[in-house]
Subunit: 384 residues, 4 copies
């Protein structure tokens, strides 16, 4: 059947996404807890490839070692029996009150030490279950009160933590890459490293930059009104797209984590096209959740919808490349009749350039039929 997901598509979900129980700042849970084993089975039936988790999505923070072992055994058994993978893991450094003012950037060295401890244990757990990518989302690394915390010091503390954990991974011979995930605000008034680019700027300053990339999230860039297609393009150009969080969001409001492509069809069409054409071969991870109005069955509708919309947009990306009208316009736009680029600097080239006479009006007259092109894209998306 058309647009039916298969493991070949590499779709993954977080345990916390299908397991979201619908609590929000103004309302209580509406759905019962979802057993991780059930999640694995249902996602496998829908055609997903894998499932990811925060340590405490799987193992409660106060579980005994015996409980932990039982849970992990059952979960692994579910993975094995369904063929599902667990390609990514991450640490919950935000739910427990101990992290109320940050984890790696806390003022309190004991909290920072605990955050490292918790992350090392969670890395062990992730690797044990097969994870190759380890995500860091610093949900509490921020401030409401800028008098209280030095943002320069916060950057240094965060760097120290990542450097420490890279060493740990290397020392343990874990085949892990780190992917840093940005968000501008919520739950903190402002979060440090608010955009994907903030992490791209940090990475070259790390002790092991080659191990560390980014995990852009659609909703998080949209919250700041930024163009997520451009943000992911910069990550790809830098060789740093190590993971991606797909969902949707209306700009300029609370973090919605909506079903993929349920709001932003056009931007996400370009994002899917970019992912598919870039050679990115990592998971297509959905970090979203069902509306609070849904019951548990609606969660599976939600999950299927995410995957279907990705596949539909992927198909349209192929159509874009085969669409005669679009390709003709692109050829016209790109064909400037010129012989080529300036090339690298030489003094002669510079002098030559400086001496050129330029007919600005003539250059301006070249047509750029972008309205027509964009309308063809809209009609391609609308299936006309």
């Amino acid at each position: 059947m058309a647009h039916s997901p298969t493991p070949h598509d590499k779709f993954t979900f977080g345990l916390w996404t299908v397991g979201n129980r619908g609590r929000d700042p103004f309302g209580d849970f509406v759905r019962p807890p979802l057993d991780p084993v059930t999640a694995v089975h249902r996602l496998a039936e829908l055609g997903a490839w894998g499932i990811n988790f925060h340590d405490n999505d799987l193992v409660p923070i106060d579980a005994t070692p015996a409980e932990r072992d039982r849970i992990v055994r059952d979960f692994r058994h579910a993975l094995d029996s369904t063929g599902m993978t667990c390609p990514m893991a991450t640490t919950n450094l935000f739910t427990d009150p101990v992290f109320k003012d940050g984890a790696f950037t806390s003022h309190d060295p004991r909290v920072r030490a605990y955050a490292l401890q918790k992350t090392m244990h969670a890395m062990d757990l992730g690797v044990e279950l097969g994870a190759r990518t380890y995500v860091f989302w610093g949900g509490r690394e921020g401030a409401e009160v800028d008098a209280a915390k030095d943002p320069v010091e916060a950057i240094k503390r965060f760097r120290d933590a990542i450097d420490f954990l890279c060493e740990y991974a290397l020392d343990q011979k874990y085949a892990l890459r780190f992917a840093l995930e940005a968000k501008p605000n919520e739950p903190r008034g402002d979060i440090y490293f608010p955009t994907t680019a903030s992490y791209l700027a940090l990475i070259p300053t790390l002790a092991h930059p080659e191990m560390v990339g980014v995990n852009p999230e659609v909703a998080h860039e949209h919250m700041a009104g930024l163009n997520v297609f451009h943000a992911v393009a910069q990550a790809i150009e830098a060789g740093k797209l190590f993971h991606i969080d797909l969902n949707d969001q209306k700009p300029g409001r609370f973090d919605q984590d909506l079903r993929f492509a349920s709001e932003s069809m056009k931007p996400l069409f370009f994002l899917v096209k970019l992912l598919e054409e870039s050679g990115y071969d990592g998971p297509r991870h959905f970090d979203a959740h069902a509306y609070r109005t849904e019951d548990q069955e609606g969660v599976w509708d939600f999950a299927l919808g995410c995957m279907r919309s990705y596949l539909i947009l992927k198909e349209k990306a192929q159509q874009f490349c085969q669409h005669a009208g679009i390709q003709a316009l692109l050829a016209e736009i790109r064909d400037t009749g010129d012989t080529g680029d300036v090339g690298p600097y030489t003094r002669e080239r510079a002098n030559e350039l400086k001496a050129q006479t330029v007919d600005r009006a003539a250059l301006t007259r070249r047509r750029l039929p972008y309205e027509r092109l964009d309308q063809l894209v809209i009609e391609l998306l609308l299936g006309v």
Copy 2:
């Protein structure tokens, strides 16, 4: 007189700021052209240190060599006779229709070549007048139609241009540093490198990263709802704060370029405090303009207001450091009673950390009196 600016304060304005004539998308000019020589004299009288320009703020794009020479001679004479400096210059790569789809990122290699030509001439002009910092704001480097332009290619083209121009500066033995200025949108639907962090991420990939830093602008970060204090802190931590554009802006709307600190007293207090305490010794540049309701005299009210507000906030930054209540709270917040940091990774340290028993509830109980601290800051700002 208190809060009266002097050249010692290093305040600078752009010719385009005090020369802004009040045209907007819905209305015509309301103020006559301002002669650059007059601008120099009036700003000098007000206590400014310097004046900056785009090439065409000073020399019209179609000026003859003779006109150029006369204008430059008169301008230099004004600088000399007032003691004003010209510490920064930049290129107008956005007004002329030839740049309607970008300058360095245009599809058309002839436009890209012209943009290099224009920039080299403008660098010559800037250096001739004393500029030590060269700003790049790529106002047209963006898109409304993502089908039309490849954002990965756009990054490469922009990098090529900056690399070329670094070589040019080196070859000319210009003592110039480049400062890249980001903006999320307007006039383009989306501008590439939308935030300061996007440029911080680009710089390490340049051929001459040591020559290139950033020029954060308050309004441009605010447009995306980001915390400009955090953005500038990241630039400082990276050693890349080469220039700064001070103004103001309400978030989530058109680019307002309001008088410094006329909207965002608290965030800009922290920004001023950071600049003053960081050792930044470059210009305090105001990139703003008077309301369209003002006549030319109002422009000087506007300029004076920018400088006064900076000095008032600077004074409050000093008071913050001497405020017993604030300092006592900060000491309490920072004193965790702990002996120190985790330190660099060793296997022993990791094992020790992993084996620690942590009393999360005890750590959580430590007070963080941020409401009280923030209220003291508010009352400091309100002069209570």
Copy 3:
């Protein structure tokens, strides 16, 4: 041909939309002036029904009576020879510097008087050319400096102006209805009556509320991140949708006036569906303009694209009503198995209600398959 506009579709454009010359705050004109007569002919050829104007779109503000008469004669001849209508007119109360601090809300009674004068003349002109709807967009009725203007007084002044002009229309026996158009900001820092609802709240307080309705604009509601479908629904529920401005806009940024449905396919699908199903039979007016990258031919691509997208969404609205899966879900959602509503208040009904035992958990269990429904809508839109 499918989705080809005809006059039957009642599509209209403003002279200022197809005549937009591409100037923006950072760049000069890119397109030559467009002759109104040419605009009429080209729009007629594309299938439009009508053309609207601000007084000075047609007649320059300083035209002599003879010039005015010649322009009007030529324009009327173009209308007559093409069968185009002119259903709406409006006043330009924002371009000229005299209106820099408002028109009807200016502090200066002479400016307020001039604004009335200009509007009466423009109403005469509009009626002469057939207009039945008169739009008021108070682009300069706002403030950057809230110390300077009393917003309560501004409301009273605006009301006085509308009351005066209603009387004028009645006295002249003009068959005109007024439509008030809101915008949150730009060009002013804040504009009074920032949303459609603000005008809906004003109307009942006017002397002639029956003559006055609203002209919601998609982009203006989107600028504030509001749901334009909900805003128009409130106008319809109040019987006050007298006109509509169709275009598109990304939220939280400058006023973009993009081609209809080029960004917000899903919200505008619901808007088109609402318009078509509500019995609204006024013009489908496009208040948008071509990208600045376009030449004049691209303007006609833009105009055709607006109309085609409307017709495509209209067709999809019909498909929605015939879509078995969607309709089945809607039936399930609406069928609560209950016999009816509470009805009007009686003491008995209230007592009965208060005494009822309610099984909250049972009510909560009723399924609301909104994820599935929304995904069907997405797939309908994507033409799957």
Copy 4:
């Protein structure tokens, strides 16, 4: 002591504000439950005048009648013994899962009936404790999926509910006025009646418009980037400011409910000035909560800070009126040298106006020294 609150200032807090336990979408409770009796005593000690509540802030949703009676008796005793008032009450129609898709606008008539039942009981409780204002915040009256709910029908359902409840209040001879509170989004994707103006537009269509006004909330207008001073001014002009929710918020993000005036000193200065000068004599209600980083003692810091900042801004509003420089500028701005207004419409007046010759350039030349005025306001606020 200066800026110390007293009951004379009419400051009120919600039980839910000081009782907020710091849970957010990403984190658990950090503070223990606060006993309502303790809340009354602590607020009284701080100088507050009253305390407000949602029904379930005081009486748990599943309390037995005996529990209810005991709780109410204890609470009333606390009020009596402290002299605290309870001027406002409201209904929690959002926490329980039964309201997941709305209360008064739910598809399910049984949910709508239950919402009426719950509100009548809560009105009884509020009146029993002295409330004179009854607030309606329809936190769940909205949608994520516009296919699922008809916004026109939603308005009618909401109107029916308010009409029913007005009749109930009248029938019970309750001396209650209703105050409707708007919010654009969160927890719903979009909430119906997103702004204060939306409710101002609804009220004239109600059966008992004289009983119903609005309860504007600072944060809720700021979320949409609107000017709350203008919004409250429109409510005052309409005679509909029945209550007000004071807090603070950065625009374009999640609902922050920050300490009053901790972010937006200038807009809230104008708001306080307006309230004080308008004759508004209702409660100054704080609908905010302490940062999640605070412990319970910090909550009282937070509460005191809200009140102090209000009093400081109130004092500055008085200084504004006595500030010679500001008043001189205002006099200059308002003195247009003109003899008066156009006055009501007469045919003669219209003809006279139409025939006037206007010197636009002369009118434009009149100075509007808004930069200077605004700078004086900034310096007044900064205590210079």
